[in-house]
């Protein structure tokens, strides 16, 4: 049996991912988000788990350092990495949207052309605005995106929304939906072929639980 390395992201997808993988017997002792170990292995089933920052999962998989991984569609698109996308896992549902302060809403999307937009997703945002024929100034932030318009760093934000609570708390209003995202099972192109049987079995097993 070939050894398989699985990259899992820290944060809210971690628990959901390990729970699902456990159902099909893919787990390891000590597989916790706060584990101090960098690689958590299950010798018996020949599985290695690595826990990385969210944005790094596609990188590990693209280079084949991890054979497979679980990560949000938004992160895959933003990374632009060439990874195989095998399964929509359905959880981690959220959507990417543009929001502005309620009191500064402009009538049409085009009215925001050439303004500043704060985002963790500058690539997806740019692709979206370019498709609308708009040029924007992208300000890459790594967290607390909604702070941007409050302190005058930007006119708008492009960010992930699950429930909308954060938006409401900060007097922001969604003005356009950009894309939906869920967690995906991804694979490296070479691993997918050289370890096809194990990976394909995993896909078939997981499908039963979705």
């Amino acid at each position: 049996m070939e050894e398989i390395t699985i990259a899992l992201p820290k944060g809210k997808l971690f628990g959901l991912s390990t729970e699902l993988l456990k159902k099909v017997g893919w787990t390891a002792e000590g597989l916790h988000e706060k584990s101090r170990k960098l690689v958590i292995s299950n010798e018996e089933t020949k599985l290695n788990f690595i826990i990385t920052k969210t944005a790094d999962v596609p990188t590990y998989v693209e280079y084949g350092a991890a054979d497979i991984g679980i990560i949000g569609k938004d992160v895959i698109l933003e990374s632009g990495k060439d990874v195989y996308e095998l399964l929509d896992l359905g959880f981690g549902k959220c959507h990417l949207m543009m929001a502005v302060p309620k009191d500064k809403k402009r009538p049409r999307l085009e009215d925001y052309a050439h303004t500043r937009v704060a985002t963790k997703f500058p690539h997806i945002a740019e692709k979206f605005f370019v498709s609308r024929g708009m040029q924007m100034e992208y300000i890459k932030l790594n967290g607390s995106i909604e702070l941007g318009p409050i302190v005058g760093l930007s006119e708008s934000i492009v960010d992930i929304v699950e429930t909308g609570t954060t938006l409401r708390e900060n007097n922001l209003e969604e003005i356009i939906h950009i894309m939906d995202a869920t967690a995906r099972l991804i694979a490296n192109r070479v691993s997918y072929r050289l370890k096809f049987d194990r990976i394909n079995n995993l896909v078939n097993e997981l499908e039963k639980f979705l």
Partner: protein, 389 residues
């Protein structure tokens, strides 16, 4: 850092040991190609942009410049197109099949290329003028043999046939746009997307399932039977027959144990028209080599002529060798000659003599004491010291 000491983005130096390892592999490949009857050609590093565009060279990937007449030139990004141009223009009266090989650097401007730089090295062959399984089998055998002579023990060649997917799509009368979307999803194994596209087509369940199955058709000979049962059209079935025939010949070549079928491999689908393949090694996340049949490209240059071939990524092979702990650097340093003050003439004669015998000999450029000579021999890693006094 001093800009005079930098190299441009995406370029690298090969230090002596790295250059030696690269040279060893390139020499073995050159020898192998010529044993198979392939003759080496060298084409210009730059071509007119229009020429490279014929094979679908993406403009933003090319390094471009202008000549004195303001025509746009580009550095070649692969060698199939320049060789096609060469074959149609300079070798059009040569008897077919033409068997040509190359070993050169190619240039692609991409910020993010795994396992290679913007300038990277490729060796490969093109076989022009024959469209049968015999030619394709020769190409695959030669590719497998190339990886073997490079020193790799553990590698796999995944073999597909683009006409299988094409036939299935035509069978369902899909529009060219939808076909392109589906092929794109198959090529990137975006199975989530593939399912979405197919589900939106409202095909009957059997047809829809067949299309969704394509990226999963991976395995040994049994997979050809599975594939055969999915298709009703002539084109797809002919593609499967073609693969079976290639495989039979590969068995005779003794490389069949390296082959796995994978109908999800379609590579650059604008360009390939028949069998396609990629070679992989464990723990290297990208392909080491790739190729296939491209029967339509030469037509775009004005001469309809079937063709097949492959390219090997030298840096990636070097990396795979390293992963498999295979050292190809056989840099022998045999003899260090040093001498006392007055007998430099004897030293030179001795060096010439030994070099004629094929030894690697370095001669000290200044007289040394015997102790210093010993020190130099060890520092420079020579096996033997000859000290003349």
């Amino acid at each position: 850092m001093n800009i005079l000491l930098e190299t441009p983005h995406g370029t690298r130096d090969f230090l002596p040991q790295e250059a030696a390892a690269k040279r060893v592999i390139e020499n073995r490949l050159a020898k192998l190609f010529s044993e198979f009857g392939y003759e080496e050609v060298v084409t210009p590093t730059m071509e007119f942009l229009e020429t490279l565009r014929i094979s679908g060279g993406v403009e933003s990937d090319l390094f471009k410049m202008f000549d004195q007449n303001n025509r746009t030139l580009a550095l070649h990004h692969e060698m199939t197109t320049p060789i096609a141009r060469l074959a149609v223009s300079r070798l059009k009266d040569s008897p077919l099949p033409l068997k040509l090989s190359y070993n050169t650097s190619v240039f692609r401007f991409r910020k993010n290329q795994m396992g290679r730089q913007c300038e990277f090295y490729q060796a490969g062959v093109e076989l022009l003028g024959v469209s049968n399984a015999f030619a394709d089998a020769e190409i695959i055998a030669l590719a497998a043999q190339s990886l073997k002579v490079s020193g790799l023990k553990d590698f796999t060649i995944c073999l597909g046939q683009v006409e299988f997917a094409n036939g299935l799509m035509e069978e369902n009368n899909l529009s060219p746009n939808v076909q392109a979307e589906i092929k794109n999803a198959i090529e990137h194994h975006n199975i989530v997307e593939l399912q979405k596209i197919v589900d939106a087509l409202n095909l009957d369940k059997v047809a829809a399932d067949s299309l969704k199955q394509i990226p999963k058709l991976h395995g040994g000979l049994e997979i050809l039977e599975t594939a055969r049962n999915l298709a009703k059209n002539k084109k797809s079935l002919a593609a499967i027959d073609n693969l079976a025939e290639i495989y039979k010949l590969a068995e005779i070549y003794g490389v069949a144990d390296k082959i796995i079928f994978d109908l999800g491999i379609i590579r650059d689908f604008e360009y390939y028209t028949g069998m396609v393949f990629e070679a992989y090694a464990p723990n290297v996340g990208y392909s080491l080599a790739g190729g296939g049949r491209y029967d339509n490209m030469l037509k775009d240059f004005g001469m309809a002529c079937p063709a097949t071939g492959f390219a090997l990524g030298i840096e990636r092979i070097l990396q795979a060798c390293e992963m498999q702990n295979i050292s190809n650097a056989v840099q022998t340093r045999d003899i260090y000659i040093s001498y006392d003050e007055k007998i430099f003439d004897a030293a030179i004669k001795k060096a010439c003599e030994l070099r004629n015998e094929g030894k690697v000999v370095e001669i000290s450029l200044t007289p040394q004491t015997e102790d210093d000579a010993k020190k130099s021999q060890i520092e420079k890693n020579y096996t033997e010291l000859i000290y003349l006094k």
